[in-house]
């Protein structure tokens, strides 16, 4: 890793400058993470009096636990649904906004602000709109003969949290897609147009391939978002229900640790989640390095 060609000489100052960041990282990041690793191989008895070393037992139990496996499946459906829905809409809006000349800024402003809304608030907003007794959407759905109830129907509950999570994320994806579209060289599009390629063909054969690095980057970011940042949406609305239908992994760690007080299992789940974050971060960084290189 580089420094400047010439650097300052000082034996203690750099350490003093780094100290606040490093101390906070050690106390609040590294130490708890290693505690999670440590607790994941222990088990406490029901009264928290005795702790025994159990090796990989906690992990084995997790992977044999139908509740955990179903939580993984729920997380997968939730993450894929959220990513597809919000990226699809964001790409559509970005392409259309990019075509505009005078109204581009006005539309952008209207589309970017939901980024500021906290996930929990996004959840409460859609929870209200989908409220079975007074919500507007169930009222409309009722007219076409669909009886919406996210308190009893697993599918309805999943749709509710996906819509809320995707809604909040549209603005983020939109900003990146728009930035990507603006860097597509105009000459390429004009050349294709002169050769007689239609708009649709130009989009799929020129613009979309050029956007593929950004699309990939956004996919990773959206999966991370759906897996880890959506705790608030679940907690403020469905609380994992009905019947575990929206019990995503992050919510389960919280429930098992704080409500169920099953520390060993919660720590093992933390370790698995850390593994997932590390893999996703590495993928993201490899992609960044590649992009810098071409």
């Amino acid at each position: 890793m580089q420094t400047k060609r010439s650097t300052f000489q000082n034996s203690w100052l750099p350490y003093a400058l780094l100290a606040p960041q490093v101390i906070i990282t050690l106390i609040f990041f590294i130490w708890p993470a290693s505690q999670a690793l440590y607790q994941s191989v222990l088990r406490q008895d029901a009264f928290g009096l005795r702790t025994t070393f159990v090796g990989f037992e906690n992990f084995k139990r997790l992977f044999a636990d139908p509740l955990y496996l179903s939580s993984m499946q729920v997380t997968l459906v939730f993450a894929v649904g959220t990513t597809l829905l919000s990226m699809g809409l964001a790409l559509l809006f970005a392409v259309k906004v990019n075509d505009m000349l005078r109204s581009r800024n006005a539309y952008s402003t209207m589309l970017v602000w939901p980024y500021a809304v906290a996930p929990a608030i996004a959840g409460v907003l859609w929870w209200f709109i989908f409220n079975p007794s007074i919500g507007i959407l169930p009222y409309i759905l009722d007219m076409v003969g669909y009886d919406w109830n996210h308190r009893s129907s697993s599918t309805d509950a999943m749709i509710l949290v996906i819509v809320a999570a995707a809604w909040k994320q549209i603005s983020y994806n939109f900003i990146f897609f728009l930035a990507g579209l603006q860097s597509v060289p105009h000459s390429l599009i004009e050349a294709a147009a002169i050769d007689g390629a239609s708009r649709t063909k130009r989009f799929w054969t020129i613009v979309f391939p050029l956007l593929s690095p950004i699309t990939f980057f956004l996919m990773v970011v959206n999966i991370v978002y759906a897996m880890f940042d959506t705790f608030g949406i679940i907690h403020a609305t469905t609380e994992g229900g009905p019947a575990q239908a929206t019990n995503i992994l992050v919510y389960k760690v919280y429930r098992d640790g704080f409500v169920g007080l099953n520390l060993g299992s919660s720590a093992a789940q933390s370790v698995i989640l850390m593994g997932i974050v590390i893999v996703l971060t590495v993928i993201q960084f490899r992609y960044i390095e590649r992009r810098v290189n071409y």
Binding site: T25, F28, Q35, K96
Partner: protein, 282 residues
């Protein structure tokens, strides 16, 4: 524009207007709901036009909240959120600009090692190490305090990377000139680096402020004393407190108040916000 398409562009406008409608609708509904008396929500479908109770609802929310259910008034939660968001933002910015300065402008033993320690924080979001982090904060006696709300969240790999990236683009000559003129490292930092970084600091400030304001899980864990509730987590207590239906008019007034500060920040500083967002994530 390569060819002119009158109808095509009309169609594009139509799609975008629909998109904006989808994006704006939830907040519109919340604003409308916050202007109605409680009776509106007992039957039928939620209102789509403003009602007469706006002033009264916001006054009740701000001064009383749901005091019967143990939730503090919204004004207190707003203040708490502001303190927490500012503490997180300023904390993050100052510790990461200092560490980036150390990493770029000094050569010292274990430099790479420290860099990796900072990098690791990227991989360990609060959500994945909830229980042990809570234990650490509890052991340090930081539950129910502003220090506990902010300090554990102020380590930031992204801000450090961004500052590092930016410092690397500053010409070498700047520092050499400063050294020839006899400026020490801290004087160089204060008089040259900081003024050059103002735009980056501002852009990051916007992103970090939103991040800090919207914290949910952390305040939820470490505050049991209503005096320290923040507004984003407080909403959850209002929604689920009690067995009855939520008091929608108050909940929605709270939602509007909770979403307003960060939304205003984005609307007024859109350019800085987009810059901050696209650069921190690269």
């Amino acid at each position: 524009m390569v060819e002119s398409r009158r109808w095509g562009s009309l169609f594009s406008h139509l799609i975008l207007i629909l998109g904006v409608a989808i994006v704006v609708f939830p907040i519109y509904v919340a604003i409308i709901a916050s202007t109605h008396p409680p009776g509106t929500f007992l039957r039928g479908v939620m209102p789509l036009l403003p009602g007469p109770n706006a002033i009264e609802n916001y006054r009740t929310a701000l001064t009383e909240g749901r005091s019967q259910a143990g939730a503090p008034p919204i004004s207190l939660m707003l203040t708490n959120s502001l303190i927490m968001a500012l503490a997180i933002t300023i904390g993050k910015l100052s510790i990461s600009i200092l560490s980036a300065f150390a990493i770029v402008y000094f050569r010292f033993p274990f430099r790479i090692f420290f860099f990796w320690i900072i990098f690791l924080t990227l991989m360990l979001p609060v959500e994945v190490r909830i229980v042990p982090t809570f234990q650490v904060v509890a052991d340090l006696g930081m539950l129910n305090s502003f220090a506990g709300l902010s300090i554990p969240l102020i380590a930031s790999a992204t801000a450090t990377f961004l500052f590092r990236q930016f410092f690397m683009t500053i010409p070498e000559e700047m520092m050499e000139a400063a050294r020839v003129d006899g400026a020490g490292p801290m004087k160089f930092f204060k008089d040259i680096l900081l003024p050059l970084s103002v735009t980056n600091i501002a852009a990051l400030f916007v992103i970090m402020f939103i991040y800090g304001w919207n914290q949910y899980l952390w305040p939820l864990l470490i505050t049991t004393d209503p005096d320290y509730y923040t507004i984003v987590m407080g909403i959850q207590r209002m929604v689920t407190g009690g067995d009855s239906e939520p008091l929608w008019h108050l909940v929605m007034a709270t939602v509007v108040l909770a979403a307003l500060p960060p939304v205003l920040v984005i609307l007024f500083m859109q350019r800085l916000f987009v810059k901050g967002l696209t650069e921190t994530e690269k």
